[in-house]
């Protein structure tokens, strides 16, 4: 017990000294578990997050947009891969993690349970959802677990490109025909509140935050990140001539930040609980891909085994 305590103190000192924790270092079991949960949720979010945008690849309104969107969704698959690898450095197994996603046991970002009914949603997701994700991910580039921090550096580069792309789609619509402008405003109306909810509940209602902050997994509170995002995004909306659907949104000279209206946390928890428009659809799509891919994965394994056996025989014969 005492020895364990000592190790924990030493770990805390190590982290406090801004050192990165690496896979083979000793770490508290709860640190490991917290990270596996967080990194795998993040990986699942990337993979499930492919779906609402993949929904529009075949319908993108120009060839240039089609290619950019497909490349973007493909990047997200790549992010999923890096993150599953980062989780595996903590001793987790990718297949188990995926099984937890498919059974509904593991969570992913609730934002992807909202539907993408119009093309303007491709703009709003890039601009707002990726924008909110970046606020969080920039912070995670300095997270205390080395492999996670390094994965984040790569991911952030691509994400900021995605965000610019999303903003540019929205700008094209906002400066386009009246019908296009209406599409852009409608998408902003639907995505604004879910985006600012992405940072999670307020600090006093966020059970894991304090410990994560202490271990420097997390370095800013949910409310701080949310405020940063709002402060950055409001002028962007103004530039586009679009209206953020919050009547209480107001610049506060004293604090140097925007005040914003009350967040409807009931909606947030309701979607997390499974009542969003697309919760079932998203999980069904992942399960369908997995189930229908089973024979392909089995065949690839069987072939690899046959090849290995053939090679062995050849070596023996020689």
């Amino acid at each position: 017990m005492t020895k364990e305590m000592n190790l924990e103190d030493r770990f805390q000192n190590y982290v406090d000294g801004e050192n990165k924790v690496e896979p083979k270092d000793w770490m508290p079991e709860k640190y490991r578990k917290t990270l596996i949960r967080q990194i795998s949720q993040h990986a699942h979010s990337e993979v499930v997050g492919m779906l609402p945008e993949a929904n529009w690849i075949t319908r993108a309104p120009s060839l240039r947009r089609k290619i950019a969107l497909l490349a973007k969704v493909q990047d997200e698959a790549g992010h999923g891969l890096y993150l599953y690898s980062a989780a595996e450095t903590l001793g987790a197994d990718r297949q188990d993690l995926v099984a937890d996603l498919l059974s509904g046991k593991a969570k992913y970002s609730s934002i992807f349970n909202y539907p993408t009914p119009t093309w303007a949603d491709m703009g709003a997701i890039g601009w707002l959802v990726d924008g909110a994700a970046i606020a969080n991910q920039v912070m995670l580039c300095r997270t205390s677990y080395g492999p996670y921090a390094r994965a984040m550096v790569r991911i952030c580069k691509e994400e900021s490109f995605h965000q610019r792309q999303g903003y540019e789609i929205t700008m094209t619509l906002a400066k386009g025909t009246p019908a296009q402008k209406k599409l852009a405003q409608d998408a902003l109306n639907r995505w604004w509140w879910p985006s600012i909810m992405m940072f999670g509940p307020s600090d006093d209602n966020s059970p894991n935050s304090a410990q994560s902050m202490q271990w420097k997994i997390k370095r800013k509170s949910n409310d701080e990140l949310r405020q940063e995002f709002i402060d950055k995004t409001v002028p962007q909306a103004e530039y586009l001539g679009l209206t953020i659907p919050d009547p209480d949104l107001k610049w506060n000279e004293e604090t140097g930040h925007y005040n914003y209206g009350e967040i409807d946390w009931e909606e947030f928890y309701n979607v997390i609980k499974g009542n969003g428009k697309c919760n079932k659809q998203r999980l069904e799509a992942r399960n369908k891909a997995h189930d229908e891919g089973a024979w392909v994965r089995e065949a690839a394994n069987a072939y690899a085994e046959k090849q290995a056996a053939r090679k062995k025989n050849e070596t023996h014969a020689a």
Partner: protein, 250 residues
């Protein structure tokens, strides 16, 4: 305007566009994340080639034409892609099978187009040949893996091969446009490609432990604009937004 050159350009461009569009349907739904990424890459290559070629088709038609006008404002009978490319994807095995049959053809076609006397087509071929070689290698490897994998994968992929066989004829059969382009030194010689294609297909099918289908009846018409029922749905999905807002820029 050279009518044959325009149609030849559209055939190349439409092949790339319709196949890219079909493959993009897999994005987010592949059997394994790594292969989801690989297939999206291939779709991206085709869509990139489609842009270059449809842009060239637009140039040939003159003022007011753009790659997007060519892609989004033509109807079924004005499309000139091969029929095999507009068929539904089916399961992963069927998609792989179609890729293999087409990629092998496309590899020999673009190898020959490196010698085209048309500067734009030649430069597209120079840009695309590396990608197309990789596609042919990737789909051949997957066909072997599935053919020589499990009993189920073998049965599935053999049945897809049998289904797809009748759609392979038109890519290897020259018509008047192919003849004119060959004569002009712009297009490829399909009779020569046919021989090389059969040789390669035989070689890979043997490695994949698959039987070459014996059916002799071959469908045709795609190159000339005579399509299956599938293409209308592909175009409806692809074109509806720009057609709903014909004045808009995206």
């Amino acid at each position: 305007m050279n009518k044959e050159l325009l149609e030849y350009t559209l055939r190349l461009g439409d092949n790339a566009l319709i196949l890219g569009q079909r493959l993009a349907e897999w994005c987010g739904h592949g059997p394994i994340l790594e292969q989801d990424i690989a297939l999206s890459n291939i779709a991206l290559d085709h869509l990139g080639q489609a842009r270059m070629l449809l842009n060239y088709a637009a140039e040939q038609q003159g003022e007011g034409f753009t790659e997007d006008k060519v892609a989004f404002f033509r109807d079924v009978f004005e499309y000139h892609n091969l029929l095999i490319l507009e068929l539904e994807n089916g399961d992963w095995g069927k998609t792989i099978c179609r890729q293999f049959l087409f990629d092998t053809f496309n590899y020999f076609l673009y190898t020959d187009l490196l010698q085209s006397k048309d500067e734009t087509i030649r430069s597209v071929a120079q840009k695309a040949i590396k990608e197309i070689s990789y596609h042919a290698q990737w789909s051949a490897e997957w066909l072997i893996r599935l053919g020589d994998g499990t009993e189920e994968s073998h049965t599935r992929v053999q049945s897809s091969l049998n289904d797809l066989w009748e759609w392979t004829g038109e890519m290897l059969t020259p018509d008047a446009v192919d003849d004119a382009m060959l004569e002009a030194g712009i297009g490829a010689d399909l009779n020569s490609i046919k021989e090389r294609w059969h040789q390669k297909v035989d070689q890979i099918l043997e490695l994949a432990k698959l039987e070459k289908p014996s059916g002799e009846w071959m469908q045709s018409g795609g190159k000339q604009g005579d399509h299956t029922e599938y293409l209308g749905f592909v175009l409806a999905e692809m074109q509806h937004i720009p057609r709903m807002h014909p004045e808009a820029k995206w």
